[in-house]
């Protein structure tokens, strides 16, 4: 009796957007499915905790839905959506209502394994796991400004132009800020190695 949800996985982003704008709201579910992982990862990296990231992602999708008619035809939906996510996450950070950052040992988003276990591929080398934990710790020590721009570049795979648009800063500032963020990350890694050499 219940009609199956149409399979729209073969439609292009443009076609999905046209369907949604034409009133087929449930086509938006396919857009969500395509982008939800990167959206969450970016939000999580910026907000540094699961609950805020969850809020940010949900709010971002509602905003995206409302603004879908302004999406440029022919463009990929993911960068456009991730820009909304980044802006929403920044607003969340600046609203002062954010929750405390998750520690590496906190339980995972669905009550599962803590981050330290989650990021470890069981098949991977213990040395790689140690290095991943180390870089996570170094990242957590960066300033908010540096974390945001690195997250956009690393997790969101934003181009410099997209970062400039999302953060409303010139491309030159993107270049210099990103360079400083990377230098800061290298510096923090160096400090961590000096303090806890045995962890490597």
């Amino acid at each position: 009796m219940t009609p199956p949800r149409p399979d729209r996985s073969d439609l292009t982003d443009d076609e999905l957007v046209r369907l949604v704008c034409g009133g087929e709201t449930d086509a938006f579910a396919e857009i969500v499915r395509r982008t939800r992982r990167s959206a969450y990862l970016l939000a999580r990296r910026i907000t540094r905790n699961h609950e805020d990231a969850d809020d940010v992602v949900q709010d971002s999708y509602v905003k995206a839905f409302r603004a879908l008619d302004r999406f440029t035809p022919g463009a990929a939906i993911a960068p456009w959506l991730l820009t909304i996510v980044a802006r929403t996450a920044l607003s969340s950070l600046r609203s002062g209502k954010r929750r405390a950052a998750s520690a590496l040992d906190d339980p995972g988003p669905d009550g599962g394994a803590p981050l330290s276990e989650r990021i470890a591929d069981p098949a991977s080398d213990p040395e790689i796991l140690a290095r991943r934990l180390e870089v996570e710790r170094a990242f957590a020590r960066l300033s908010e400004e540096h974390r945001v721009i690195l997250a956009m570049r690393v997790d969101g795979d934003f181009s410099y132009a997209s970062i400039a648009e999302a953060l409303e800063i010139p491309i030159g500032t993107v270049m210099s800020r990103l360079a400083r963020a990377r230098e800061a990350l290298v510096e923090q890694m160096g400090k961590l190695r000096k303090v806890v050499p045995d962890e490597r």
């Binding site: 009796m1 219940t2 009609p3 949800r5 949604v20 704008c21 009133g23 087929e24 709201t25 449930d26 579910a29 969500v32 499915r33 939800r36 992982r37 969450y40 990862l41 999580r44 990296r45 699961h50 809020d55 992602v57 949900q58 999708y61 509602v62 839905f65 409302r66 603004a67 879908l68 008619d69 302004r70 995972g108 988003p109 669905d110 599962g112 981050l115 989650r118 990021i119 790689i128 290095r131 991943r132 934990l133 180390e134 870089v135 996570e136 170094a138 690195l150 570049r153 690393v154 997790d155 410099y160 270049m175 210099s176 990103l178 360079a179 990377r182 230098e183 990350l185 290298v186 890694m189």
Partner: protein
């Protein structure tokens, strides 16, 4: 430029690594990097760190993302928005504005003088009450008469919702009715006793069941439940209630027929205009657009217990869209859509609807009842479902905050 020349700026070095340099600069930086071990090492270090950072991202399990999708879609549907539009205003708000627009507008000084007169009446009323004067009719009756039964019902809902928010429900909240107190208004929880939520729900439910009967017999019947609930009220109050209920029922009937006629006329359907008489028992056939939509989702013409929650939720966006673009061409069609929308809202709200959801659901049902016209089946189902909804609310101990 070679390895012996000064290192390029870090910005340029990283931009080279990111593929963001213009071709002419890329050639220059590349020439340096190829001959400079330190710059190559820095680029390699950063690349490795970022790879580790990306690989170490705390990705939840797939089940979380499925839930996330569901929540997002629920929010998108609940937001009742369309791309390119701000949030749609609730239908009740739109209706109220439409009614206001039809009313002749008074100049500001007329409003000011009206308000002054009302204030004076209230002051005099308070003084008389303090002196023990017996009221035959309370000053607020005039307000009730003007605002019609819908306003009384919405006040009733609002009171009920407020009490639920506060968690009030104990007998200690009941206000004693003194012989000198104003005559309680029908459906007015403040006058009858603010704590009797369940009794109020039963009262409304009984009235709904009454209203399900043919209009000819229902219009002359006083709301029995309301009187039964107020057995302890003084006879004088009962008389006032009955009189008011008769007036309300008569007004309800005329308003109902007027609204149905207005909506049908707006839809430009080939049918009688509001001023013309229509066959008393004629049931208008369902419009082609709605029929096609319901068929597509495997839904019957009127919601019934055989309809699954999934079906309702899947059809909801299309039904909303149809309603928005005027595809429900007759009043009974609008009632059918309202009934389905009420059910969809109910499914989404779950067992613990917040006050906004309660208002929305009850509003859909009431509009369905009103718009059903001569279609006895739609009216019956809408009345029963509203009664069922109100009964469920009455059994619910406290209001829960809205879900995220």
């Amino acid at each position: 430029m070679n390895a012996n020349q000064p290192h390029p700026l870090r910005e340029e070095l990283f931009a080279y690594r990111d593929g963001e340099l213009k071709p002419d600069r890329r050639v220059v930086i590349e020439a340096h990097v190829l001959g400079c071990h330190a710059c190559r090492e820095l680029i390699d270090d950063v690349s490795r760190m970022e790879a580790d950072l990306g690989a170490g991202a705390p990705a939840p399990k797939e089940a979380y993302f499925e839930r996330l999708s569901e929540h997002v879609m629920t929010k998108v549907l609940a937001a009742d928005t369309a791309p390119g539009h701000e949030r749609r205003r609730p239908a009740a708000e739109v209706e109220w504005e439409e009614k206001q627009a039809l009313k002749p507008k008074l100049p500001w000084f007329a409003l000011a003088s009206t308000m002054s007169a009302a204030a004076a009446v209230i002051v005099v009323g308070v003084l008389l009450v303090r002196e023990g004067a017996v009221w035959r009719r309370p000053p607020s009756v005039a307000v009730l008469e003007r605002s019609a039964p819908d306003a009384a019902r919405s006040r009733s809902d609002a009171d009920s919702a407020r009490r639920r928010v506060r968690g009030i429900g104990g007998k200690d909240e009941n206000r004693a009715v003194s012989p000198t107190a104003p005559v309680p208004l029908p459906n007015s929880k403040v006058a009858v006793g603010a704590g009797e939520r369940k009794a109020d729900v039963r009262s409304e439910t009984d009235k709904l069941k009454k209203s399900n009967e043919p209009v000819a017999s229902g219009s002359a019947t006083a709301p029995e439940g309301g009187v039964q609930e107020k057995e302890e009220v003084v006879p004088q109050q009962q008389a006032g209630e009955e009189a008011l209920n008769k007036e309300s029922a008569a007004r309800d009937k005329s308003l109902s027929s007027r609204e149905s006629g207005d909506l049908a006329a707006r839809a430009a359907a080939p049918q009688a205009s509001p001023g013309l008489s229509r066959a008393e028992n004629a049931v208008e056939p369902m419009g082609a657009a709605l029929k096609s939509l319901l068929d597509r989702y495997g839904l019957p013409p009127v919601w019934g217990p055989g309809v699954s929650d999934d079906q309702v939720l899947q059809a909801e966006p299309a039904l909303r869209n149809l309603y928005r673009v005027g595809g429900a061409v007759t009043a009974p069609d609008s009632a059918r859509v309202r009934l389905y929308l009420a059910e969809a809202s109910r499914v989404r709200a779950g067992a613990t609807p917040d006050s906004a959801a309660v208002d929305e659901i009850a509003h859909h049902y009431r509009r369905a009842i009103r718009l059903a016209g001569n279609d006895a089946e739609i009216r019956r189902v809408a009345v029963e479902r509203l009664a069922d909804f109100l009964t469920e609310l009455g059994d619910e101990p406290a209001l829960h905050s809205p879900q995220r």
